[in-house]
């Protein structure tokens, strides 16, 4: 039973993101701002930090692929970026000491990196043609602030959940 807890949790967050953009009003944080929820990726980074690099990267790859197929229909963007940034995060964690504050900072930076990475890739394949400055104004700052808030609020429950999960797995 415990084995299925993590995949189910991630599947739920995966669908939650889609519900979020569907139901939360578009101009919640002011006109002409686009907020992109990165709940799934925040949870993936926490998984990488608190449970383990290997597990984190595997989950990142699986859910990246799922994200690409279901939502984007261009396979490769998230499939590459999710595991890549998760890997970077775990490498940085080796240098810094592992505490809660550092974990939150790494997650926020990782989300920022993801947003810029997706912009660059989409720019490359001409999905979008807005320039970098208007990308910052329109999407990056609001997204960054919103997700930072989310990570700070949801960080502690997620950490507790993953640590409990670790203990349960060890006990088995």
């Amino acid at each position: 039973m415990k084995k299925f807890l993590l995949p189910l949790l991630f599947l739920f967050i995966f669908i939650l993101e889609s519900l979020f953009v569907q139901y939360v009003p578009d101009d919640l944080f002011g006109q002409n701002k686009i907020i992109v929820p990165h709940f799934l990726f925040a949870a993936l980074l926490f998984l990488t930090i608190f449970v383990g690099q290997k597990q984190g990267i595997i989950y990142a790859a699986i859910f990246g692929l799922l994200f690409d197929i279901v939502y984007i229909e261009i396979i490769g963007i998230y499939l590459f970026l999710f595991p890549f940034i998760a890997y970077l995060a775990s490498k940085i964690l080796n240098i810094l000491q592992n505490n809660f504050l550092v974990a939150i900072l790494i997650t926020i930076v990782g989300i920022a990196l993801l947003e810029v990475g997706v912009y660059e890739m989409d720019h490359l394949i001409h999905v979008t043609d807005i320039d970098f400055m208007s990308f910052l104004q329109l999407r990056f700052y609001p997204t960054f602030i919103f997700n930072a808030l989310f990570v700070i609020i949801a960080g502690y429950p997620l950490k507790r959940l993953f640590e409990k999960h670790m203990e349960a797995m060890r006990a088995e």
Partner: protein, 293 residues
């Protein structure tokens, strides 16, 4: 040099970049159908999504109803003032419809590009990364949805079907900036002006109708509808109203900025339009087009 190749991580990175490029190339090319693993995954997640989103839809609808209740008084007042005109308008419409039918019978032309079969569908998901503006609906191949069909809400056109699986399909909204996302449109005026809906200004939230010839006159406030030419779109679906007209870079064409009639956010239910006139009959659309407008 051998040391360079021994570096496992570097090789892994290079290989994954090659795979990435290959995969993106594979999915970017014009595809008439998704591959079966993709269809399978989309159907499975679509099922889970509809499990979650239907109750959510219900709850959200309930709260929306509560909100509506508070506006009832003002709305009622406004509607009452409008209903006075409605009766006379209805009589007029009846007459025109009859007229139109008679004239059509005389011409011997039964079907038009305007006729379509509506297929209501519920939105079960939306792309969270808002680059590719897409929504997922709960009607698929089994319900007769085909690629490129027009999707509308009560307020106007919102997009077209991008891909279909057995039980769900993906709608690409007009607000996505994909250059392949083009729709033939008419700007209604004294004479009809043809153009292409192409691109979306996400800062101003306006659609761009391009390729309007320079000599033609397009004014602010004119209505833009679909033309029904080309693909499987029916004619006469509302797109929006012209807000601004400007010359393009070389002065050969005009670009009209159009305020879309439909809201691209907060979409709960949509209607997929199945045009009754099939593609094969479109050879005589020229006459149908003139009588239709």
């Amino acid at each position: 040099m051998p040391q360079f190749f021994m570096n496992k991580r570097l090789i892994l990175l290079l290989v994954s970049i090659i795979v990435l490029v290959a995969l993106i190339g594979f999915s970017l090319r014009e595809r008439s159908k998704l591959s079966w693993p993709e269809q399978f995954i989309k159907d499975t997640t679509g099922w889970v999504q509809s499990l979650v989103s239907k109750p959510t839809n219900y709850v959200a609808g309930f709260f929306e109803n509560l909100q509506d209740l508070t506006n009832t008084y003002g709305e009622n007042k406004e509607l009452k003032s409008r209903i006075e005109n409605l009766a006379s308008l209805e009589a007029q419409v009846q007459e025109l419809k009859k007229d139109n039918k008679e004239l059509r019978d005389v011409l011997g032309e039964k079907k038009t590009l305007r006729d379509y079969e509506p297929l209501p569908a519920t939105v079960i998901g939306r792309n969270p990364d808002r680059w590719h503006e897409m929504i997922i609906i709960d009607k698929g191949n089994l319900n007769g949805v085909k690629k490129n069909m027009a999707v509308v809400t009560a307020n106007g056109l919102i997009g077209k079907i991008k891909s279909v699986t057995q039980f769900s399909s993906t709608v690409q909204l007009l607000s996505s900036t994909d250059p392949k996302n083009r729709i033939s449109a008419i700007v209604q005026g004294k004479t009809n002006v043809y153009g292409l809906v192409e691109g979306y200004d996400s800062e101003k939230k306006l659609l761009q109708v391009k390729a309007i010839p320079t000599g033609t006159e397009v004014k602010k406030g004119q209505t833009v509808i679909t033309s029904g030419l080309g693909d499987v779109f029916p004619k006469g679906l509302l797109i929006g109203k012209v807000v601004e007209v400007k010359q393009d870079q070389y002065g050969l064409n005009q670009t009209a900025l159009v305020k879309p009639g439909a809201d691209f956010y907060d979409i709960r239910t949509v209607i997929v339009t199945k045009r009754t006139m099939s593609q094969s009959v479109t050879s005589d659309t020229t006459s149908g087009k003139e009588t239709g407008s």
